[in-house]
Amino acid sequence: MSLSIDDLHVDLGGRPVIEGVSLSIGDGERLGLIGESGSGKSMTLLAVLGLLPDAATVRGSIRLDDRELVGLSDRDHAPLRGAEIGVVFQDPRTSLDPIRTIGSQIAEPLRLHEGIGRREARARAIEAAAEVGLPDPAGIVDRYPHQLSGGQRQRVVIATALIARPRLLLADEPTTALDVSTQAEVLDLFRRLVDERGTSLLFVTHDLAVLRRVVDHAAVLSAGRLVEQGPVRELLTRPAHPVTRGLVAASEATTWRTT
């Protein structure tokens, strides 16, 4: 599925947070979106989902294949979420409902979009849990989030995002909240699943080392504007914009410390 964002502007209570961002991801392509905190990465993602805060106003165009998403009512937007667009959020400690079982959360997009029954939902949830490498899939679907480790929870979030076979996956810093060794495992899983299914991917991060493992192309965002775009290798070795240079330097500093 292709996503093309054209001259996107988002104002939040009169303050511009995204100013004229244009991006495009072809069918099965993977694009990284990097930038410092507050550069508008997450806002771009929320704009695609149609889940910006009430105070936000959006101008420009976001097209999913041939459908225009800007100006779509929530009623028309909701059926796309989970079914055509999957999302993995940053912090698995807070993105799972504490009082619902793992199985019911993994299967939620299926129940909503395919209207399947409880038994089949459970079977599909177990299948999905096995696919993301959760231990004891048949038992883990009856557990609650607090009984799982951070890495396991993020696998649950990934399983939820992919269970309805969306053709576009959005990831908002999916490994930032994990420790380094878990990070590598989750990234490998991520890459494998996206490869297998040919899902288009928009991968948001501030960490270039992470980016390099998952995508080949990336766009750099700063203060709501797109400042640089190109192959990741290029951005890492010959960063043109000062912001990109700053991010590369920061990532090298982290790499030194962790290896």
């Binding site: 799972l96 504490p98 979030v157």
Partner: protein, 291 residues
């Protein structure tokens, strides 16, 4: 969530077991007593006044020779009706105002918040007494006054909690999974606030029993033909100097029922949160190599 484990968790705690046990007893008495009590609860017998507890009069008799046990049993119907009706009213008023005051557009939720604050400022007992003065005392007045009064309190406490839960990541994640604006409220927000509702509801039911007893004691509640613990307490307290033990029965009935509601509310809250629920050890808890 599986129903079985939830119920087991409620009854499994000592406080929950006591709450369920005592309220079940009250419920049985409430349902059975209109049809059968050991003796007629309203029959007077001047020659049998102030009989001590015996096999015939389990709790003894009062100043006009009524059988106190039968009367206390018969009055449990009134208590149960008041508690259920007030609780239901309070829950509807509370949830409605709390949701309107938290998940609606800003202008609407701010006006509802002001309305809640204004309503909270009216003392429930005074509203009940004013209504009783205008329309005559009845259980309906007690239910309306207590139900809306405590409903507003529930709304006030839950509003902030609903707003907090509404901003949680898992609510955004649920929306991103395709759950609609209304579905996210019923499937994720309210269930996460439900433990708070359970505590508030049990408190509302307990206090409505006290309000009924208090209003009947003052003469604003149940009419003379309706048996009520509060009315019995007020009848007996005139003789407290001579027959102090007699007031123990209605007093204990009120106290134990209120206590049972409060303890049950706590047990339900703890059971509603899987993190607080006692559980069997899972493989992850055991030390050793993990995959």
């Amino acid at each position: 969530m599986r129903r079985g484990s939830w119920l087991r968790a409620v009854v499994g705690s000592p406080t929950g077991a006591f709450g369920v046990g005592w309220l079940a007893l009250v419920a049985v008495a409430a349902v059975a007593s209109p049809f059968w009590t050991p003796l007629d609860p309203f029959a007077t017998d001047p020659y049998a006044a102030w009989a001590p507890p015996s096999t015939e009069h389990l709790f003894g008799t009062d100043s006009v020779g009524r059988d106190v046990f039968s009367y206390v049993a018969r009055a449990s119907t009134t208590t149960a009706l008041v508690a259920l009706a007030s609780g239901a009213t309070a829950l509807v008023v509370g949830v409605l105002l709390a949701v309107l005051g938290s998940l609606t557009p800003r202008w609407a939720r701010d006006s509802v918040a002001v309305l809640i604050d204004v309503l909270v400022a009216f003392p429930t007992i005074l509203i009940a007494m004013a209504l009783a003065a205008a329309f005559g005392g009845s259980l309906g007045v007690v239910v309306i006054a207590a139900g809306t009064g405590y409903g507003v309190n529930i709304a006030r406490v839950s509003r902030a909690e609903i707003r907090r839960v509404g901003r949680e990541d898992y609510v955004l994640a649920a929306r991103a999974a395709g759950v609609g604006a209304l579905g996210v409220v019923t499937r994720h927000v309210l269930p996460n606030v439900a433990p708070l509702f359970a505590v508030q509801l049990s408190l509302a039911m307990a206090t409505s029993i006290l309000a009924e007893a208090g209003l009947s004691f003052l003469g604003y509640g149940a009419s003379a033909e309706t048996a009520s613990w509060g009315r019995l307490l007020s009848d007996l307290q005139k003789f407290i100097g001579v027959h102090p033990w007699s007031i123990v029965w209605p007093g204990a009935a009120i106290t134990l029922t209120v206590l049972a509601f409060n303890l049950l509310g706590d047990a339900v809250r703890d059971a509603g949160d899987p993190r607080l629920r006692p559980r069997a050890a899972t493989p992850a808890d055991r030390p050793g190599v993990v995959s």
